[in-house]
């Protein structure tokens, strides 16, 4: 019984990580209807960026992440402005194929620069610290911080979307691109800002990815699939749904792993397919499409 309770708690905490992976994807979809196949690889790239900043400047990963955020914001802004804005339009193929190409470039670029060795972000005692809850159940500090950060990111994104002029522009371009342009919204810049913001979320996700487990250049695509599953389970266009979707996915994986360790990933995928079969628009749908 305790084992199952523990699995549930760990599942919710793991869901926090998946919600962080998914928040960036959800943001890109919410603003520019972009489905980014390089999302997972961008998270891994950001993890390496934090690693480099941390080791070169001798900083703690948390501080290094803060230092890397402006760099990543600019990278995201530039990527959208220079490359991805050119691909958006009625045709689905260009954004998909350009981001797929980007995924291959990032993976192999990282492979060449950092080799296939797995890496980890080191942050001293906090990595292994845990809070006992009694009854033999303990909660790791880093997993707990992950969940808290995920909730904070979701609340922050909701605030930007619904309480700021920038969010108004985001929603306007998402609802009707042409009318937004007629109203004087500089769509290219708005999209670039959204991507910059998504990269900040990616940086936060990357920090916890690197603190919780080893990473290497090849793990990006699997993170993309988790992020995607969380977005679809939660329902397109809803940040709160994305958080819930991440937690459902985390729960499915830990429960699956509890039955047989080899079934962890498979159980997550199957939960996704079941939701798709039963509630194709997700648990908390907002957007159509």
């Amino acid at each position: 019984m305790i084992g199952w309770l523990d699995a549930l708690i760990q599942g919710v905490l793991l869901g926090g990580l998946y919600a962080l992976f998914a928040a960036g994807l959800s943001l890109m979809f919410g603003v520019m209807r972009l489905v980014n196949l390089a999302h997972g690889d961008l998270i891994v790239l950001a993890a390496y960026a934090i690693l480099v900043v941390a080791s070169k400047l001798g900083l703690d990963p948390f501080v290094a992440m803060l230092a890397a955020i402006p760099i990543l914001f600019v990278m995201g802004f530039a990527l959208q402005h220079v490359l991805l804005n050119r691909t958006l339009g009625r045709d689905l193929l260009p954004p998909l194929l350009v981001t797929f190409g980007l995924s291959i470039i990032i993976q192999n670029g990282l492979l060449q620069t950092f080799s296939a060795d797995s890496q980890r972000l080191r942050s001293g005692a906090i990595e292994t610290a845990s809070i006992p809850l009694g009854g033999g159940i303990a909660v790791g500090v880093v997993p707990l911080l992950t969940l808290v950060s995920a909730i904070a990111v979701i609340v922050f994104l909701n605030f930007i979307f619904y309480r700021t002029p920038l969010g108004r522009a985001f929603r306007a371009t998402s609802d009707d691109l042409e009318v937004a342009q007629l109203m004087g919204v500089d769509v290219n810049r708005i999209f670039a800002v959204a991507m910059g913001l998504a990269f900040v979320v990616i940086a936060i996700a990357a920090l916890y990815l690197g603190l919780r487990a080893n990473f290497d250049p090849t793990i990006g695509p699997a993170r993309l699939l988790y992020a995607f599953e969380a977005v679809i389970i939660g329902g397109l266009g809803s940040f709160r749904g994305t958080l819930a979707g991440g937690i459902v996915l985390g729960l499915a994986q830990t429960i699956g792993a509890r039955i047989d360790p080899e079934w962890q990933i498979l159980a997550g995928h199957l939960a996704f397919l079941v939701v798709l079969a039963v509630r194709p628009r997700g648990l908390f749908p907002r957007a159509q499409d």
Partner: protein, 358 residues
């Protein structure tokens, strides 16, 4: 006023094949015959290279039909390559069937697997469909990794008794006077050629049929096609299942030739989908000629640059992005637009003739 002037002054005719394409049909037959007889002269390396080229081109034609015509952009076709490979291993190693009998069965089984798969992934639209198919491919990979009779996560090999039981090996040995491994390659080569010719013929005749007209309409404008009475869902489902069957059979042949299978290789997104997408995009999506050009370019790149490993893949990715941005119709699109060329006449042309001409 003359009465006849009010009537139509022009006659219309719709044509799919012109004189030049009859010449290419003859050319295609000559090329096919030459390729069939090639093992008499060619060395083993060339034969092996061509087997690879044929597989990739057949896969590319399938993906092109799926993405270029039906608008089903899948990044999960490795599901059916791996499925075909694994089913071949199961049918020959466990059920003891002859490989030649097993291959059409894998096609049938792949179609049966594709049907329920489609019912789920078709709930996702556009770009989401793409990632959904990828998830399904991962599910297939993880399930086969659990299947212990075929080696689980590490995979397994075909026994020599299976690989040598393919029809024609003995015959090729005596007729061409080669050793068993070379004879195996030659028979694999013929099978790959037959499969490629079959795939090309199937895609060609589908595109020239009424269904093909509907597919072209979907490619050009889905909403308009639906408005004109095309049953989009049914046609997409039919194309998805048909390409799954073809892809499954290609997968079976690939792994019959490789004689060794593992879940990670058989369900590799890079080998069976990324390369295939690259071929179609470089050559020109939505045409039958494009993948042919793309496959040849891919083969040349692979031959000359594959030793560079990661940089090679970076070059491929960059090339794909550049083509997508600056020449979205691919290399064939550039050539065909300028010279009005067509090798596989699948487009309908409106021939307009003034009445006075005759």
């Amino acid at each position: 006023m003359d009465d006849t002037a009010a009537g139509p002054t022009q006659a219309f005719r719709i044509e799919t094949a012109g004189g030049s394409s009859r010449a290419t049909a003859a050319g295609a037959l000559i090329i096919l015959l030459a390729l069939v007889l090639l093992p008499i002269f060619a060395g083993r390396n060339l034969i092996q290279d061509l087997i690879f080229l044929f597989y990739m081109l057949a896969l590319a034609q399938c993906w092109n039909l799926l993405a270029g015509y039906a608008g089903l952009i899948s990044v999960g076709q490795q599901a059916f390559v791996g499925l075909g490979g694994y089913l071949l291993f199961a049918l020959t190693l466990i059920a003891g069937l002859n490989p030649l009998l097993a291959i059409p069965l894998t096609g049938l089984a792949s179609a049966l697997f594709a049907l329920p798969t489609a019912l789920i992934v078709f709930r996702l639209r556009g770009a989401y469909f793409a990632i959904g198919t990828w998830v399904v491919a991962e599910v297939y990979r993880l399930v086969f990794a659990q299947f212990k009779p075929l080696g689980g996560g590490t995979g397994t090999s075909l026994t020599p008794s299976v690989t040598s039981s393919v029809l024609g090996i003995e015959w090729a040995k005596t007729w061409l006077d080669v050793r068993t491994p070379a004879a195996r390659d030659i028979v694999s080569y013929w099978m790959a050629l037959a499969l490629l010719a079959g795939t090309l013929a199937a895609v060609y005749f589908i595109l020239r049929s009424r269904r093909g007209l509907a597919l072209g309409a979907i490619r050009d404008h889905e909403a308009a096609a639906a408005g004109l009475g095309v049953d989009i869902y049914r046609i997409k489902l039919a194309v998805y299942v048909a390409t799954a069957a073809m892809t499954g059979m290609i997968g079976a042949l690939i792994y019959l030739q490789k004689a060794r299978i593992s879940p990670d290789a058989a369900f590799s997104v890079l080998d069976w989908t990324a390369y295939v997408i690259f071929i179609v995009v470089i050559g020109g999506i939505g045409t039958m000629e494009g993948p042919v050009i793309g496959a040849i370019i891919f083969y040349l790149l692979q031959r000359n640059l594959a030793d560079f490993g990661a940089s090679y893949l970076i070059i491929l990715g960059t090339l794909g992005i550049i083509i997508m941005l600056f020449a979205p119709k691919g290399l064939w699109g550039l050539v065909a637009e300028r010279y009005d060329l067509t090798l596989f006449p699948t487009r309908r042309r409106l021939i307009v003739r003034d009445r006075g001409d005759r």
